[in-house]
Symmetry: C2
Amino acid sequence: MCELLGVTSSVATNLALSFSGFAMRGGKTGPHADGWGVSFYEGRFARTFLEPRPAYNSALREFLRQHPNPAALAIAHIRKMTRGRAAFENTHPFVRVLHNRHLVFAHNGTLPNVRERPLRSESAVGETDSEHAFCVILEALRAAYPASYPESARELGQTLFELGNEIGNDGTFNFLLADGQYLFARCGDHLSYIVRRAPFGHGTLADSDVKVNFADAMSGDPDESVAVVASEPLTSDEPWQKGLPGTLWVFRAGQLVTEILPPSARVAASAPPRIQTAH
Amino acid sequence: MCELLGVTSSVATNLALSFSGFAMRGGKTGPHADGWGVSFYEGRFARTFLEPRPAYNSALREFLRQHPNPAALAIAHIRKMTRGRAAFENTHPFVRVLHNRHLVFAHNGTLPNVRERPLRSESAVGETDSEHAFCVILEALRAAYPASYPESARELGQTLFELGNEIGNDGTFNFLLADGQYLFARCGDHLSYIVRRAPFGHGTLADSDVKVNFADAMSGDPDESVAVVASEPLTSDEPWQKGLPGTLWVFRAGQLVTEILPPSARVAASAPPRIQTAH
């Protein structure tokens, strides 16, 4: 299994703090020693750094910590092999171009049969089920939006919700997908998020018992907001929201903007299909 | 204008030496201060590092020099803006996936009208004529080889030769394109190469008057061979071969394997269409 981390904020900030506890799981406090990767968006371009080795003692990761590039949207992943060797081509996140922007994708879980699905124009460089699933999603998005990128993130979220259910039906499919503006997050079996707003308080990193002051990493903007999505809560003393299996969240600029719940949750709530869009 | 550098070798080696003099041109001895990038192949995957700032004093470039990853195929580029801002998305090399491998592309020159050419499935993330030209090439390769990657590098070289003439007819089109195994190099108006074979001698870097011992960077394999392609010779005292405009070279594992000369050169030599393939 692997772990996912996605961050979006209202102001470009140093995202290194969110990665600190996370990277510890890459071979030190967790078993995820087979690779790590991170994509930072600069506009529509995703700067991506990958290594097929543990994150916790990586010189490249340390370089990135010492030379932070402020960003407002990032996806990171640490990997424990389930499919494919430890190699660059099997390391998440995966990046492709769709309609003049990078799409970035990272997956947690296993999709044992997804590689049997035929592909037309997309193809995987590595051997993972994850990259193949990303290719399936890309082809579906090309078919659904042949002329240009969808303007409505809610519509795109609904398409990804349905694709997530369809592909995830045959395995475990927690994923993060970003397009430079929005962060789409699907909970297959476990995924949590938190939205932190200014003024920022303290939190205790779940992996190191270290107390951090979130205000240290922030820009000082009084309206600043940061949304963090992770496989497991990164802090032990903040109110993380756990996802119901099948849920798709859409985040933008440090806010949850849309939540699409699975049908089971809708029945449980005796409510009509629930698509919440924040004001 | 920009500068190109491509290196292929028979054994994975530290390619940093070839980049030393080259990177100096990125704002120190040359005017190419608007960005730099390098792609190192690991199998079919191209690890790519880019920065929209001068190469000569870059902390990331220094990190890569101190933490070399042996590679047998790499493309580098330093940029002086002609089209598009200094931004990640406008920095070469560009990377796309075609038939289960990364293709890497870098361009020197200007193609003033290429962005008027319509694209179907490919699209550019940035605003450069170069990335658009790469997209035109990718679509032509997808059309020519719809089912799988061409097995014959000579056939692919011929296709790229023709595409280079067609696209380059309307501007200046020096380019390097790599696929993980082969390095294709087109001379539009200036491009030079050299093949160095063991035992390696000395050379004087054209940009710094520093004498370097090429054997220092080599693996020690007695059959080792390295091919270097660059916009301008990197050393002042080695027999670099200058390309005739329109020439396409194909390199593999440190050797020139195919040279396709332009029709003008064939007429001049009163010879039939000349496609040389090394033994």
